[in-house]
Symmetry: C2
Subunit: 252 residues, 2 copies
DNA sequence: AGCGCTCGAATTGCATGCAGTTTGGGCTCG
DNA sequence: CGAGCCCAAACTGCATGCAATTCGAGCGCT
């Protein structure tokens, strides 16, 4: 059976969910960079809701690991450490191996067509911005997860994939999406053939190479976040004023 | 290296988190059964906070899958379907294999002692209620996850383990905790020996057998939640009044 | 008795208000 | 010229109030 009983995902259409979706998308498209401030009333104003709702949305996103919430402090887009990025990818590999294991040989023709259509879209977007390519690539993986019809698996794969997106914007060098697209195609065809072992191996290699291509080595020896992030800029500072970090989203 | 940099878990000490912890515990100890109602103001009153806070807490727990939230409807403790229970265990197996893979041979003597102490506690609790045994067993797995020092892994393992707890209270027959305890000990010793493949196999088998022991077959053919849940009680009803389902936490 | 309807009580969705904390710009002083 | 202090503005933590929706007990009808 390729399809179990359909089940709607938890996120319906109340205002909180709408804001969550909007912010999530803004984050993974890097419109909001890691560290960007997210004041409750600015969000509320922007989305036409009260602070209560914005706050609630931030709480949800914090639960997903996309924003960081510290008591009495303004919320910011999460800034995962390099180690957390690696951890996220490790988890992601296991989860997605599970996805393709469940899916191998179980896909309907329609589902395979849907997957191919998605990769076609990725192909067409190759000319566009990096952000869109990354989003589409991520959505391919989430689409796969959906096809398992396991809401829990969908949730976890989505979450960890978004997290990985976030880290890519932190640690990646401008990377070519070419091979990723080819690997997506290979995965689809192996899924269609029903070779579970092969497709698990493909997925493993795919994610591993994305991680390795993207996550450049852990910077000499990370002492603690801010200090060594700023280290490369230290020499500039000696002969110059400290550069003020860019802020985000002031009200009009 | 057995220990990475320590990192505090996200859940600090604001009122929302306190309520979350309390409810989580109540749920996994089956003080709150699946389906139990969780009205916002009852919770608020019980914990001495406003509805706003109770509501926020419910949102967090919903994100973890422990409660179900439907628009304009009273929140209830989640009632996972049998299929969701299986899915949760499948995911859990993969995640915890990852945990022990990372841990094999990397544990300090102190950590091993801590694990053994925990299992001793499980042992001592064998006389107590099922609920406590289940909680302790779950906490053993979470303790393992903590030792990876990967906050993300901790979060996912905890979540999915709690979920599994929840399903156990739905679908399990009264089970013996004996073998589980022995299996925990076996896992510890394999971890200490550093045999990654062995300990992954042990963990896999452990969780699989817990799932199989606990999750009794999917009841003939599940049509929809309520109907077949009530099926076994149907005969009582014919000759008797309908038994009112227990409600939760009325105000004093 | 069983079934459907109606209306008040219970409950949620959301905005607003107030108090306490953090932030950062300017002023003073070394 | 730079370091430290101070205070107002910005922001969060939380409670409360009001409108909209759901729930369920009772009533009437069959």
């Amino acid at each position: 059976m390729a399809a179990r009983a359909s089940s709607k995902t938890s996120e319906s259409s109340d205002k909180v969910s709408v804001i969550c979706r909007a912010l999530r998308r803004a984050i993974i498209e890097q419109a909001l960079e890691p560290g960007a401030k997210l004041p409750e009333d600015a969000l509320g104003e922007r989305f036409g809701v009260s602070r209560t709702i914005a706050r609630h949305a931030l709480g949800q996103l914090a639960a997903e690991g996309l924003v960081e919430l510290r008591r009495n402090r303004i919320a910011v887009v999460a800034t995962p450490s390099w180690q957390e990025a690696r951890d996220a990818f490790d988890i992601r590999i296991e989860l997605e191996r599970l996805v393709v294991r469940q899916l191998a040989g179980k896909l309907t023709k329609a589902q395979i067509a849907e997957l191919n259509a998605h990769v076609d879209a990725e192909d067409r977007a190759r000319g566009g911005t990096d952000a869109v390519s990354i989003r589409l690539a991520t959505e391919f993986h989430i689409l796969l997860a959906h096809m398992t019809n396991s809401p829990i698996l969908v949730r976890y794969v989505s979450e960890v994939a978004y997290r990985c997106c976030l880290t890519l914007s932190l640690y990646s060098r401008p990377h070519s999406t070419e091979c990723a697209i080819n690997e997506h195609r290979a995965i689809i065809s192996a899924l269609a053939k029903g070779d579970a072992a092969k497709v698990m191996e493909l997925m493993h290699h795919h994610l591993d190479s994305v991680a390795n291509r993207a996550l450049v080595a852990p910077t000499p020896q990370r002492g603690r976040d801010l200090l060594d992030i700023l280290a490369p800029y230290a020499d500039e500072v000696t002969s110059n004023r400290v550069i003020k970090l860019p802020k985000v989203a002031r009200r009009s």
